[in-house]
Amino acid sequence: MAGWSQLPKDLLLLIAQRLNTHFDLLSLRSVCSSWHAFIPYSLHPLPSRFPILPTNGTSWGLYLSRRRILHLRLPESHCQSTTSSWLIKVEEDVPDMAHLVNPLSTFQFRHFPPNFPKNFAFSRFRVSELGQEYVLQYMNHRPSGEADEGSLHKGKVTFSCTSNGDDFVMLTIHVSGKLAMFRHGNKKLTLIDDMSCDDLIFFNGEFYAVDKTGRTVVVAIGSPPVLSLVADSVSGGNKKSLVESNGELLMVDTYFDQVIHRIMERAVRFKVFKLDQIRRVWVEIENLGDQILFLGEKSAFSAVASAFCGCAGNCIYYTNSFFFPCGQEDDAYTGIGIFNLENGNMGPLSSFPDYAKVIWPPPAWVYTDNIRGV
């Protein structure tokens, strides 16, 4: 009787097309010899680097780098007394070399535990992709006087492209606070005057932008781009963030106290809203249930608590520059805090070990288990 390894190529591809992530495809390719031959390395060949032209004809250029936020777990057959995960962000834009970055910040991990394998085999684990992050970086060198790419933009970069990468759109927040768009084929960024933007997200195939009052629009890409209202303002906090959770679009409103200047603002409270698309309003939700939200510096994503860390959901990982200790070196937890929606408790990540250990250090099962082969 023929087995699955003899599945004809066209049927295997029909199945492969229904897999959403790069890692699922890689797993499929690694099962047996015929499947490896039939399934291309990527059904959607997409370089991790997209060259973006310089905005004013100077000698430097920018490229867009893609990072993936991944959730690693042991396969079910292994004995585990509690749910244990590792949340990582990986940048693979240089062939044969990867960077491990803090999932919530831009801090790159360089000091691995002594036994950590030089070549880390991820196929031993269940790998789920929780999100992608796009970062603009200088191509060859930074012009003198510029600390980082923040001079051109602040906040998130959102990106969308066709399946073979031959047409793309990048939307980001310009340093002036306006929306900036770059399309394949353009020579420079197009600024969209109509709003001052706090956050962006690419959700359900569309770009959503929110201003600091909570007024939210969909940006339809075109010449010129058209903004359509999807929700009115909400009263309240100082900074709005957009995040996808359980298939829905949520907005998180951050309240700061002592807004002395950007560096010293301290988050004291968060409110979460769900989008009512019909009435075009944000509706406050008191409880996230089993969901955990992650508001990183350059991306936002969510996870299901029971499958993630085994601790309670209904909380938010957030980044806050207030947590940066002066003069000390950054470490894995710098700048990150946890907020519990149920009781309003919050504090730096280091005060919440169960929530901190999913980020760093790498859990022991990630590198002490000696499994041969793939």
Partner: protein, 152 residues
């Protein structure tokens, strides 16, 4: 009334309205109107039975004023039960649905298999589908390279 005969000699009678759901059979009917029994040499009796069960259910749902017409939700629930099969039967069903050219069944089965694969490691996938790791040492090396990161 159309009669199908499986590879192991079992016969199945179907109404024409059901038989045309199987595109391959529909094409054969158009070509061989004189034949009374259509052989289906690639498909075993117990698999053909399941295919026909699916088609009968789905035909009833597309008929408009049918007494037994099922709502979309009911049909989805029926489909969820239908696909609770062991991997060997799933495999045979996919091959049959492909040969008999039944698009909706093939879509359902492919989605089912994809859902079984999502988020799993290669070794888990092999266990679920009872597949042997048959890579040559050369191929093993390449697989290893694809499946690792060299962190800076």
């Amino acid at each position: 009334m159309i009669t199908l005969r499986s590879s192991d000699g079992e016969t199945f009678d179907l109404d024409e309205v059901v038989a045309v759901e199987l595109q391959t059979i529909k094409n054969m009917m158009e070509d061989r109107c004189a034949e009374s029994v259509i052989p289906v040499p690639n498909v075993e009796g117990k698999i053909l039975a399941k295919v026909i069960e699916y088609c009968k259910k789905h035909v009833k749902s597309t008929a408009k004023a049918e007494e037994h017409a099922l709502s979309d939700a009911d049909l989805k629930a029926w489909d969820s039960d239908f696909i609770k099969l062991d991997q060997a039967t799933l495999f045979d069903l996919i091959m049959a649905a492909n040969y008999l050219d039944i698009k909706s069944l093939l879509d359902l089965l492919c989605q089912t298999v994809a859902d079984m694969i999502k988020g799993k490691s290669p070794e888990e996938i092999r266990k679920i589908f009872n597949i042997k790791n048959d890579f040559t040492p050369e191929e093993e090396k390449e697989i290893r390279r694809e499946n690792q990161w060299a962190f800076e």
